[in-house]
């Protein structure tokens, strides 16, 4: 009975570890596929208990049964009335190789797609099978599920109540496993120590981050983006003038009751002095994207139809879901990208609209954690202009509005034909210092450049302003094209501004954020009344340096890889030994012989397909193992070559001899033992052949007669 409970516990531990991928895929989405694998392992273990002939094949049967369960549940579409096909195999293979990467390249929770989550039930299945096979050593049996647990936390670390609950449940299951696996007084001490240790360790792991909160937990998803090749299209910023030349051309239509003031296509963050580029951090859009931390939000939605397709889809700052298409998304800017689309696109977009308190916005500081962004080679006169435009004010949202007002009051929007184009420093210098006239392209680009010079983190968005509202679908035309700047405000996120004064107007319903911004803008003191703040040390002085965690991440990954590689060899050997140890009869005795041979091979002793136990006894370095090997040889000879065959006593004696060999090898120098422990030689197999290559001549030692089995037979 205790063995059954142990099997259930170790399988359950793997299942619990698997469910901790919940933040990635959604809690309930994972449970069925994990449960089917765990149940398959438990069921197969029970069957093998009742049918001893199947015991040796238990891991294989359990794996196959678990795979079948996962296939029926997740890959039914690839089967032929439930029977796996080549497509099923391909899907499973893809699940092993690609699904974990796709999951990392998606926003979380991911879409309900088997191609994304397939690796989780597979990993849980492997952990459960390994755990059951290692039940002889309960501590080792827990390791596979712990590995799954660690992997899940590297994907998305649980926090708070969820973390505490998961840790306690896992610890409870492991405690039961230890309790039933090691009954008796001697082992109860182990349990008494192990259970509190596990519980305290897990609780400490949870409590430390809570007591000393720091940066967001590390995730494998960090700095990872979709591998989909991005389109090479014209920068929408450069298309503004051309669009304004054909103002009535419709671009897209949308339907929705929520107030909208702008639709964004792209957000450009990097400026080299000549080019503005968008960040390449797209991810596959998952089931739903949560709102950014900060102000309270309200869900909004609209249906958008683009007759000419993408690749960029009109979007909002914080998209939540997209139905109808499966675009890539940059969660930080709200950009939606559909790289390989042709023809019309129709989709339902929902987003989070921030509810901004005017007072909070008025006193807001800029977000110092946002990198200031590049500027290229700044013309000297422009740097002076930035200082003048903000009167040297320290970076703040009010300073941003002062700069916005400066542009609104001192520069004019160009109209008619022959509109100015260009957004590099040469064009911006001409706009700022000479012509003082431009489109939103120059206004927005100049604002972002001046803001960055003033120490205000800013970025440039390109899209369309919402036309005057009405009932029914709203048609957005070329004349609505607009570029605008956004500044990073601490605690509130990116706030769009309007240096050209074109985004708002009569008949348009402002969003809560636009309304709050307008109120703060209206409350700005006149330019003559403003205080003269102390001069800043420099345009970039306010921007704190961001720690570069790239090397640390690389080191962590390398460390994990190293641990995986180093730990894999001893683990594989332990599993192999466990499998061999469970065999009975002749196979058990031969397994003992192979175990001894592999032990010696890892210590550098030569062995060929023709090497017998006595050969090893004669050639093994050091007499410490020779006697044990001769004892083993006697048992192997009796089991394999005599009519006596294998007996339980012989099997026990054979494995006793293997233990003797192990003890003998343990007396070798520590460097030799360490080298042997991680030597994968015995795992790589060897070539067995009846043909003899001529190149092999002379490399084998001359055989010598060793003592007979009869001299050792008891």
């Amino acid at each position: 009975m205790s063995a059954r409970i142990a099997v259930a516990c170790v399988s359950l531990a793997a299942g619990i570890a698997g469910t901790m991928f919940g933040p990635v895929f959604g809690w309930w989405r994972l449970v069925p596929s994990i449960a089917v694998g765990v149940l398959a392992v438990i069921l197969v273990a029970e069957i093998c208990r009742r049918v001893p002939a199947l015991a040796a094949w238990r891991p294989v049967i359990a794996t196959v049964a678990g795979l079948l369960g996962v296939v029926e549940l997740e890959l039914w579409d690839t089967t032929l009335a439930g029977l796996p096909t080549a497509a099923t195999g391909q899907a499973l293979l893809t699940g092993v190789t690609d699904s974990w990467q796709l999951a990392l390249e998606s926003t979380w929770p991911t879409r309900a797609d088997a191609g994304l989550l397939l690796f989780v039930p597979l990993v849980v299945l492997v952990a459960a099978v390994l755990g059951v096979e290692l039940l002889r050593w309960p501590v080792l049996a827990v390791l596979p599920s712990l590995a799954v647990l660690g992997l899940s936390q590297m994907f998305a670390a649980l926090t708070g109540i969820a973390a505490i609950t998961a840790a306690l449940v896992y610890a409870a299951v492991v405690a039961v496993l230890f309790a039933v696996s090691r009954p008796g007084a001697r082992h109860s001490r182990t349990v008494a120590l192990a259970v509190p240790t596990v519980v305290l360790g897990l609780c400490a792991a949870i409590a430390v981050p809570l007591l000393a909160p720091s940066d967001p937990a590390y995730s494998l998803q960090d700095n990872r983006s979709a591998r989909t090749p991005l389109p090479r299209t014209t920068n929408p910023l450069a298309e503004i003038a051309a669009r304004l030349e054909q103002p009535e051309t419709p671009v897209f239509t949308y339907t929705g009751g929520a107030p909208v003031d702008r639709w964004r296509l792209v957000v450009l963050e990097e400026f080299t002095g000549t080019r503005w580029t968008a960040p390449q951090r797209y991810r596959h859009l998952g089931e739903r994207v949560g709102p950014a931390a900060g102000a309270p939000v309200t869900p909004r939605s609209a249906r958008v139809t683009m007759p000419d397709g993408g690749p960029w889809l009109p979007s909002q700052a914080m998209p939540a879901t997209v139905t109808g298409v499966a675009p890539l998304i940059d969660p930080a800017s709200g950009m939606l990208l559909l790289p390989e689309t042709t023809g019309p696109v129709d989709y339902e977009l929902s987003w989070w609209e921030p509810e901004i308190d005017t007072a909070a916005l008025a006193d807001a500081k800029i977000d110092a954690s946002v990198p200031p962004g590049g500027l290229g080679a700044v013309p000297p006169a422009v740097a002076d202009l930035a200082r003048t435009a903000t009167a040297g004010a320290p970076p703040s949202f009010r300073a941003a509005l002062v700069l916005e007002r400066h542009l609104q009051q001192n520069y004019r929007a160009a109209t008619g034909t022959g509109l100015p184009t260009g957004h590099g420093w040469s064009h911006l210098r001409e706009f700022l210092l000479d012509t003082r006239q431009g489109t939103s392209e120059q206004f927005a680009a100049a604002y972002v450049a001046l803001a960055r010079l003033a120490g205000i983190p800013a970025r440039l968005a390109v899209g369309f302003r919402a036309p005057q509202g009405g009932t029914g679908p709203v048609v957005v035309r070329n004349k609505d094209v607009l570029a605008w700047p956004e500044v990073a405000v601490a605690g509130l996120g990116w706030v769009p501004l309007d240096p050209m004064g074109a985004a708002s107007g009569p008949g348009r319903v402002p969003t809560p954020l636009a309304a709050a911004t307008a109120k703060v803008r209206a409350e700005l003191p006149p330019p003559s009344d403003r205080d003269t703040p102390p001069p800043a040390d420099g345009p970039h002085a306010a921007a704190p340096e961001q720690p570069d965690d790239g090397p640390a991440t690389l080191l962590v990954l390398l460390g994990l890889l190293l641990i995986g590689i180093v730990g894999a060899v001893p683990l594989a050997k332990a599993i192999r030994t466990a499998v061999r140890r469970r065999r009975g009869g002749v196979h058990g005795v031969v397994s003992a012989w192979w175990e001894a041979r592999d032990l010696l091979r890892t210590h550098g002793e030569p062995a060929t397909p023709g090497t017998t136990v006595r050969d090893l006894a004669g050639t093994a370095t050091g007499a410490t193992v020779a006697h044990e090997l001769l004892e083993l040889a006697a048992e192997v000879d009796l089991a394999l070559w005599s009519s006596t065959g294998a007996t339980d006593r012989g099997l026990t004696a054979a494995w006793d001899a293997v233990r003797g060999v192990r003890r003998g090898l343990a007396r070798r120098p520590l460097p030799d033992r360490v080298r042997a422990a991680f030597n994968p030689r015995s795992l790589l197999g060897q070539r067995f052949s009846h043909s003899v290559p001529s190149s092999a001549h002379g490399k084998y030692p001359k055989r010598r007669i060793v003592p007979a089995a009869s001299s050792l037979r008891r």
Partner: protein
Amino acid sequence: MTQARSVPAGEVYERIAANVTRVVHGKPEVVRLAVAAMLSEGHLLIEDVPGVGKTTLARCLARSISGSWNRIQFTPDLLPGDITGVQIYHQNDNAFVFHPGAVFANVVLADEINRGTPKTQSALLEVMAERTVTVDAVRHEVPQPFLVVATQNPIDMGGTYRLPEAQLDRFLMRLPIGYPDLRAEMSVIMADSSGMEPDDLPAVVDIPTMIGAVSQVRAVEVSTGVIEYAATIAAATRQHPELRYGASPRGSIALVRAAKGLAATHGRPFVTPDDIKDVAHPVLEHRLILTTDAELARRTAGQIVDTVLAEVALPVMSAARV
């Protein structure tokens, strides 16, 4: 017909080995293999350089058995009739009467066999294979048990005739003796001073006991896996690129027979792959004929047997896959 006497074959070996090692020092493996050949009803060719104790070993083996034994000193002028026997005309009876040659004994010591001419050497072919001698169309059986223990010097020395392959194939084993190690050589010198000679050795096994031991060896169990292993080794020699001729099926049979004898000397009622490997060199080496290229490359049959033994997988692969 002599009645067999049931003494365990292992004990027979112990008696003979203990007797022989009173004179032959430091070569227990050679003695064991030699006795194994005797118990397997095989003939023994002891080959090595002069002075290492070939003849002494052969004499000791012959003296240890209480049956008849003859010594034939092979010389270039030795005639086949001297070995097999001749028909002599008796005037009184007006008939030809067969006078048995030296081979009519339980143990025949053919000393320096490669100093006899090929014609004379060939006189041993029939008796070694069939244990009969045919003279003038009349077959004469030799006494049982029958064992030829021959000695020869390496064939690259002068005044010798290389044994034909057919002759070599009739020897179950070809045993080199080798130089003794320092301690063994000291024992040899001291034994020489004490004056112990092979002729001084008593017979420790009588003929019925020997026949009984031979019967026990025939009954030693050989599993199918071991037979497969022996056949595979022989087949591997036939496929070896450095061998013009590998071991014949007679070689496979000899391999198993010798292994049975060796198992019996260990007191073991079954043969193991270790037995096959232990007898592989003395049984196979003299049956292998190297290619010219291999000889020019100074390859030896022993080296090739070593590689074959190392590369041929143990029958455990088919007996129990793990």
